[in-house]
Amino acid sequence: MGEKARTTMLCHELEDIFSREPDSALPPSAAEHLETCTVCRALAADLKAIRLASLELPAEEDAPTRVWARIRLELEAEGLIREPRLEEERGSAANWFFFQRPAFAGAVLALLILAAGLVGVRRTRTGTNLAADLNPVSLPASDDQEASLTSTEAGIESLQQVDPQVQAVFKRDLALVDDAISKCEKSVREQPGNDLAREYLYDAYQQKAQLLAVAMDRGTLGGR
């Protein structure tokens, strides 16, 4: 008579199965082992709990818009991007921007100061200073904002005398960004402790500054 074949799985054999096939269904012999071994049963339960909990961690996250902006600028700097369009708008806008640069430069500077002020609030945020940081008045002063908007609007109005089409483009584009700024400011005022709202507001200010800077560049280059 031969030896009775061992049918009971050992603990290390079960762990070997987990290692080789971490997510496959267990064979019947493993299931039998789990019925009798409290340690391995606890191990299997814990591994399952970890797998279930990991499903709650997001597989995707939104990267801040500045990431793409930086990538884009770098691609341009390296000459990897081909630009085929909008050349016809250069000529008429160029002369206007050449003369109106100071107004736009002021608007860009004001926006960058606003954004820098917001960054300063974010970077000094600590647990002990949280109460101060939560104060709604830490938002950039509205009169600085008004100054930037006023000079921007004056610039756009002057543009109408040069090229209505270009003016319409800028008006539309600035309206989009201003709308975003307005919504973000409202949220920051209503939820002073919301870091994400501040981050979006910071991004929106940066985008407006970029927008105006691009417009200035176009005018500068076309005027030469």
Binding site: L47, A49, E60, I71, I81, E83, E87, L196
Partner: protein, 256 residues
């Protein structure tokens, strides 16, 4: 003239990035999770083009020709997963942003060499993982080679019998915050496999291509990652139980 045309395109790009405040709530998970060998969902990971937007293959072709919109389309299709991967690997947003930027820059610089031998997302994730691991190497964190034993004291025999007793069961006790913290403490190699598989839903054959290892190695590293997470989470539970006991003793002493 070319520079001015580039600036005009930058203008359009800035506009397309104008934020809608309520957009930040939208997220998607895109995984095919499995428990005990059974798929629990069938959410496709690859986005398809919608409403006339460029498909991935078209965007790749145009990007190889330097088309700005195509670059952005590729970024739109893949940035969320790449950023999530970077964020899970390094644990802070500033570094994750830098790593995401670097991964896409490397991708776009090399996109002319992509011939379609592997899935584009696999190629991108391989770049991303390499960028992250290089960064972690420079920070001199202990790095785990997928071919090495990383736990010198690891038992090669039966399961650890000194932990995992029934009184420290994780079932019902693992919350998202504790798990995230535990994941951050994993060695880089374990962390990468765990993030790719358990969080982002990649299969082992895909992970093997991304990590340049064998399928068997991917599976064993995943198991080791989970075992290490188990230890870390049980330590957390023990610490919490200890604090509760101390707090209870403190209250009792106060009423004596």
């Amino acid at each position: 003239m070319r520079v001015q045309a580039r600036r005009a395109q930058t203008l359009d790009t800035c506009l397309s990035r104008a934020l809608a405040w309520d957009e930040y709530n939208s997220r998607s998970k895109g995984r095919i999770p499995k428990i005990d060998g059974v798929p629990t969902g069938s959410v496709p990971r690859t986005r398809r083009s919608e409403t006339g937007e460029l498909s991935e293959s078209e965007a790749i072709r145009l990007a190889q020709d330097g088309d700005a919109g195509a670059f952005e389309r590729i970024y739109q299709l893949h940035s969320r997963r790449v950023y999530a991967l970077c964020l899970r690997m390094v644990g802070n947003t500033a570094e994750a942003e830098d790593l995401t930027q670097e991964a896409f820059l490397q991708l776009f610089r090399k996109i002319g060499t992509f011939r379609g031998e592997s899935a584009f997302s696999t190629w991108l994730h391989r770049l991303s993982v390499n960028v992250v691991l290089m960064k972690l190497r420079k920070k001199a964190l202990p790095e785990t080679s997928l071919e090495e034993q990383t736990e010198p004291d690891e038992e090669t025999g039966g399961p650890r019998k000194d932990i995992g007793g029934p009184d420290l069961l994780l079932t019902g006790s693992v919350d998202r915050v504790n798990l995230q913290r535990a994941v951050e403490q994993l060695p880089p190699g374990y962390k990468a496999v765990f993030v790719l598989h358990d969080i982002q839903g990649y299969e082992h054959n895909e992970i093997a291509q991304i990590m340049s290892c064998s399928i068997g190695n991917s599976k064993s590293q995943l198991h080791k990652a989970r075992m290490r997470l188990r230890e870390l989470l049980q330590e957390t539970l023990r610490d919490q139980a200890r604090q509760q006991r101390q707090a209870a003793r403190g209250e009792t002493a106060g009423t004596d």
